[in-house]
Amino acid sequence: MTRDQIRATLLEALSRIAPEVGAADIDPAANLRDQIDIDSMDFLNFMILLRQTLGVDVPETDYPTLRTLDACVDYFAAKQAAPAAPAAR
């Protein structure tokens, strides 16, 4: 999946969490929670949607890195380039 596709997937998920917010309203470099007024329940639902669409189960310890839309794109792009630790080693 390209970065643009990841971005589109993220925006689609966000539009389901906060239907009143349009993609054009989101500044990709600014703090996501401040811009669209999402609480911890919304954020958890965002993570659940992304697990369904991107197949990435984000551990809680990584939540702080997902501060902006750009940071989210970076994070999921990296996860795809290097899928989660192989089962056998």
Partner: protein, 400 residues
């Protein structure tokens, strides 16, 4: 019962009125959005028979009785005061001619709710202002809630000047947005004024270390897939529900000059709506649920509070309310009790604080738990022991 005739119980005895329910102390009007039953339908008590919209969303309202719908008195789209007769029930004389099992909604929420039109509250409001029929948009939206943008787009197609709708298509239930907002504030003002006038509140507050609770949650969440993770709020709710078993005098209603304990713990959860406003639907039988089940119920409640689909009963049968303003960043919440309830538990933000424990000073995540309680039902000593019990339970989360 065999063939009913008019004189077995008398028409007045069997006829029952279904009235516009009060879905919260601050509700004065409701708009009948849709009927799920028609005259002649036999409906079971608890089956969803209508959808009602208030400033706070669309609610599925259940039938108060087992019976046959005799007449629908209010047409969809009509806004009426609380208490207005919406429909009448009765054993119609021609009941034998009616089909035995008419297609009434099933009591299961899911089967009724699945095909429901979904739209964000702001989209609904805008559509009402603009006179846009959401049902027409719903076909295009299919798998997501109708957004404000889609409503605006539809308005652009339908009307030449959507930005300044001086003459919106006349929908009887749609006052201008400013009026609706004002009306909501006024209704809230009336409700809280009543609560503050009638209920002699007392307030208690205590800081609670959540170090053990959050460590336990972190370890549990680390090995759980994201859809089974638990938020601290669910653990706090569980602690309240469990503590209420020991302190039943905080769980129930003050009516007719006396406190009536409730047999079950229906935990009202204050949920802020994305468009402003607050509702407090109930998690039913919270004391019998595990932390995981409470989390599931909470997620479901928040989703339906924001997308529509809460049931009338969820809005009216909470036996105590919990408000959690932690996400808003405040430390302490001293709330207003929802009458006829007798207590409201508040939790503020979970923040790191210096914490002295066993002669050592450390840094703990701490939440301030508060209790606003009705002095007619309990006194401060009782309330203080209740908060202490919540604290105690949160120090052993695995045991809850």
């Amino acid at each position: 019962m065999p063939m009913t005739t008019l004189d077995t119980a008398g028409a007045a005895g069997t006829a029952n009125a279904f009235r516009m329910p009060s879905l919260g102390a601050d509700m004065e009007f409701g708009t009948l959005v849709r009927w799920h039953a028609a005259p002649g339908d036999r409906v079971a008590r608890g089956a969803v028979i209508a959808e009602v919209e208030t400033e706070k969303g669309v609610f599925s309202v259940e039938s108060p009785v087992d019976g046959v719908v005799a007449e629908l008195n209010v047409a969809p789209g009509t806004k009426v005061p609380v208490g207005t007769v919406l429909a009448t029930f009765g054993e119609a004389p021609r009941v034998a001619a009616a089909p035995q099992i008419p297609p009434t909604p099933t009591p299961e929420a899911e089967s009724v709710l699945t095909p429901r039109l979904r739209a964000s509250p702001v989209a609904r409001r805008r559509a009402a202002e603009l006179g846009i029929d959401l049902a027409a948009l719903w076909h295009d939206a299919r798998d997501h809630a109708i957004t404000l943008a889609e409503v605006e787009r539809a308005a652009g197609r339908a009307a030449p000047a959507p930005v300044t709708p001086e003459l919106p298509a006349p929908t009887p239930s749609a006052p201008p947005a400013g009026d609706a907002r004002l009306a909501m504030r006024r209704a809230v003002a009336a409700a809280v004024s009543r609560a503050n006038r009638d209920i002699p509140h007392y307030y208690l507050s205590t800081p609670v270390s959540l170090r053990r609770a959050l460590d336990w949650l972190r370890d549990r969440n680390a090995v759980s897939p994201v859809d089974q993770r638990i938020l601290p709020a669910a653990l706090l709710l569980k602690a309240v529900a469990t503590a209420l078993r020991e302190f039943p005098e905080l769980n129930g209603f003050y009516t007719e000059g006396a406190f009536q304990p409730a047999p079950a713990v229906h935990l009202g959860v204050a949920i802020s709506l994305r468009t402003g406003g607050l509702i407090a639907p109930a998690i039913h039988d919270a004391d019998g649920k595990t932390v995981g089940e409470i989390m599931e119920a909470l997620r479901d409640l928040v989703r339906r509070a924001r997308e529509g689909g809460l049931r009338g009963s969820e809005m009216t049968d909470a036996t105590i309310t919990v408000t959690n303003l932690g996400d808003e960043g405040v430390d302490t919440v001293l709330g207003v009790i929802y009458p006829p309830q007798v207590a409201l538990v508040g939790f503020g933000r979970i923040a790191e604080r210096p914490w002295a424990d066993a002669g050592m000073l450390g840094v703990h995540p701490v939440v301030t738990a508060t209790l606003a309680a009705d002095h007619r039902a309990t006194d401060g000593h009782y309330g203080g022991r209740f908060l202490a019990a919540i604290d105690r339970l949160l120090q052993a989360p695995e045991a809850m």
